[in-house]
Symmetry: C2
Subunit: 106 residues, 2 copies
DNA sequence: ACCGTACTACGACAGTCGTCAAACTACGAT
DNA sequence: ATCGTAGTTTGACGACTGTCGTAGTACGGT
């Protein structure tokens, strides 16, 4: 059996839909995650490392929505899943959108 | 009795919250309205003039959410309400956000 | 005064969403 | 093999949301 390199399904850049991206971003918890990922940068972070006011399962739920919308990428690394922002894809598809959101005070 | 010039409540620029803006934009019908308003430009348009696959009351509902989030401005004009995009406010608060969204294909 | 047009308000209903707890899987270390 | 850590899955629940129809308000024209 080959190693499972891409267990988690991600939409390709062309499959990303603006509706889903906006829906993914339109939640305080997910917006906070995106902000954190933007701050952390391209090296990414383990899911659990982002402090959130919700339980494990809710966290998984939000991270899934972000991933399936094409906002984030997740790759397994040991028992952890390293999450990163798909900055390049988003900036290409919707130039300015991410920066605009991150520019918001708070 | 004085004329009612500003019947409809709008948030001031400083009161606009990114959460609410994103939530307002995260609906296909409302996104379509925003696209139309962007296309039409600063002269605006009567609510009913935008063709939508929903009834009158649903239309009112969506336009209210957009207005209360600070995405659009509505001013009475006879029996109609002229709706415009608050481009300047949005571009100031979240530079690039609107352009990024409008850049999306479809 | 009356009518038509343009929109709003209210209540109802079905569907979605965020949340949690509990049970489960996957991997690494001892 | 066992255990602990990291994350997922499932089912349940309440809250919110989009939708509609009906009724109501506001304004302009005849």
């Amino acid at each position: 059996m080959g190693r499972m390199v891409e267990v988690l399904p991600h939409p390709a850049r062309e499959e990303i839909k603006i509706d889903e991206v906006l829906h993914a971003l339109a939640d305080p918890v997910r917006l906070h995650i995106v902000r954190e990922l933007a701050r952390i940068g391209p090296e990414g972070v383990a899911c659990g490392a982002i402090e959130l006011p919700v339980t494990k399962s809710t966290r998984t739920h939000h991270l899934r929505i972000l991933r399936e919308a094409g906002v984030t990428r997740m790759q397994p690394e040991g028992t952890a899943r390293i999450t990163t922002l798909r900055r390049e894809d988003l900036d290409t598809l919707y130039p300015g959108l991410l920066d605009g959101i991150l520019a918001a005070r708070q």
